[in-house]
């Protein structure tokens, strides 16, 4: 059975009640209440996994990153001070765990894999299926900074201010990264593999 407040497909679960309840649970968990922590983890595990899945790009590695993120939440729940929403802190932990996994993956020797052929168009229903298959490949081709920003905006439905808080960058930077990330993804999914500009520091 899905726990209350579960988030199918990473869709945002809002509501003041949930936010307040998250904070109360987090405070209890910080005091050592294991049951509160369990409820929090069960409630948000899909959300954490969705971020890791799209940032890491590989199903098995995404599960490793999800586990790392949940462990980090368990170990770090005492540092959650309640000044921001619990989900903001959660997304920060998840994003960091996913990026750590990406970096670990880069250091690992990997067999050369053939990427799936990009679809010629992502507009039709049939093409959408293949585009979904391509999306992992496309995401891995755009810089991490763009990828994370697009995932937090379009998958997690965070607004610009929330993303700025999660990533600890100015809102303008978030806006820029999302715009460039979307443009790059559209270009790749549209079968036009032009060079993707790396973001400048602070942009």
């Amino acid at each position: 059975m899905r726990p209350p407040g579960g988030s199918p497909q990473g869709v945002r679960v809002g509501g003041a009640a949930n936010v307040i309840e998250d904070r109360a649970l987090a405070r209890a968990a910080a005091r050592g209440d294991r049951r509160s922590l369990e409820v929090l983890l069960e409630r948000h595990v899909d959300r954490v996994h969705a971020v890791c899945r799209r940032v890491v790009g590989h199903p098995e590695d995404a599960l490793d990153a999800t586990q790392e993120a949940l462990v980090a939440i368990t170990r770090g729940i005492g540092s959650f001070d309640g000044r921001s929403a619990f989900t903001t802190w959660l997304y920060r932990v998840a994003t960091n765990a996913a990026l750590d996994e990406v970096r670990r993956r880069k250091r690992r020797p990997m067999p050369v894999e053939e990427l799936p052929e990009p679809s010629s168009s992502a507009s039709g229903v049939e093409d959408r299926v293949s585009a979904r298959l391509d999306v992992d490949a496309a995401l891995t081709q755009i810089p991490e900074e763009f990828r994370v920003a697009v995932v937090l905006r379009d998958l997690c439905d965070l607004d610009y201010a929330e993303i700025a808080e999660v990533l600890d960058v100015p809102s303008g930077t978030v806006r820029s990264r999302i715009a460039r990330g979307r443009a790059a993804l559209t270009e790749i999914l549209g079968n036009s593999e032009g060079p993707i500009e790396r973001p400048k520091r602070g942009s």
Binding site: M1, R2, G6, S7, P8, Q9, G10, V11, A28, A29, A30, R31, G32, D33, R34, L37, E38, L41, E42, V45, D46, H49, A50, R53, R54, L63, T66, Q67, L70, V71, I73, T74, R75, G76, I77, G78, S79, A122, R128, A131, R132, V135, V150, V151, R153, D154, L155, D157, D159, Y160, R175, A179, R182, L185, L189
Partner: protein, 208 residues
């Protein structure tokens, strides 16, 4: 003059991209495995910070009690010069009578156990008491003991003949003070007292 509004549309969620990025929910087995894996980790001892604060507060209150005692032992000439005749001096002599009872009335030395964490479950309470006894320096710091909330709860209210230790904890999210001692029939008990009004919330039998 108002600034021109920025168009909001570019900031909106890209629904077609959202559909492509959507991730199916985890199956129950995987979800449970991940959550269990995280819960197997030791939880933070965030209560350590709270414990440090509690101990610091207890020490501060203890020092304050000490200062009051020292002042009470000073020559009366100082106090009588400050207040109306009889007023302050009378208060001082009253303080001197009350001060020795500032810890737990009618008891011997008490061991300060510090923070016991979540004591909602009797088993956790028992373990925490045992561990804290192991870490405790013994009944040496009676000033700190006096600083514990509800430290002056009468032994009759606690139902204990002789409390031997006192600690702090959380019981069902409520801050509580825990007294350890012996009941008139010789049975060892931990008595949980709510800090807000010093009422007894429960008693837990401790093995001999």
């Amino acid at each position: 003059m108002s600034e021109p509004r920025e168009p909001t549309e570019p900031d909106a969620r890209d629904e077609s991209l959202a559909a492509l990025l959507a991730v199916p929910p985890l199956d129950d087995v995987t979800r449970r495995r991940l959550v269990r894996g995280a819960l197997d980790q030791p939880m933070p001892r965030a209560s350590r910070a709270a414990a440090a604060l509690s101990v610091a507060a207890a020490v501060a209150v203890g020092l304050l009690v000490g200062v009051v005692l020292v002042q009470g032992n000073e020559p009366r000439t100082t106090t009588t010069a400050q207040g109306a005749p009889g007023g302050r001096a009378a208060a001082d002599s009253e303080a001197l009578e009350v001060a020795p009872k500032a810890a737990i009335p009618g008891t011997g030395p008490i061991t300060a156990l510090g923070d016991l964490g979540d004591v909602t479950k009797p088993a956790d309470l028992e373990v925490a008491i045992n561990n804290s006894y192991g870490l405790s320096a013994g009944p040496g710091d009676q000033a700190a003991v006096a600083g514990y909330p509800c430290a002056t709860t009468p032994t009759e209210t606690l139902g204990l003949v002789s409390p031997s230790a006192i600690g702090l904890g959380v019981f069902r999210d409520l801050p509580v003070t825990v007294f350890v001692g012996t009941a008139p029939d010789g049975q060892a008990f931990a008595v949980i007292v709510r800090q807000t009004d010093c009422t007894v919330l429960g008693r837990v039998v401790l093995p001999g």
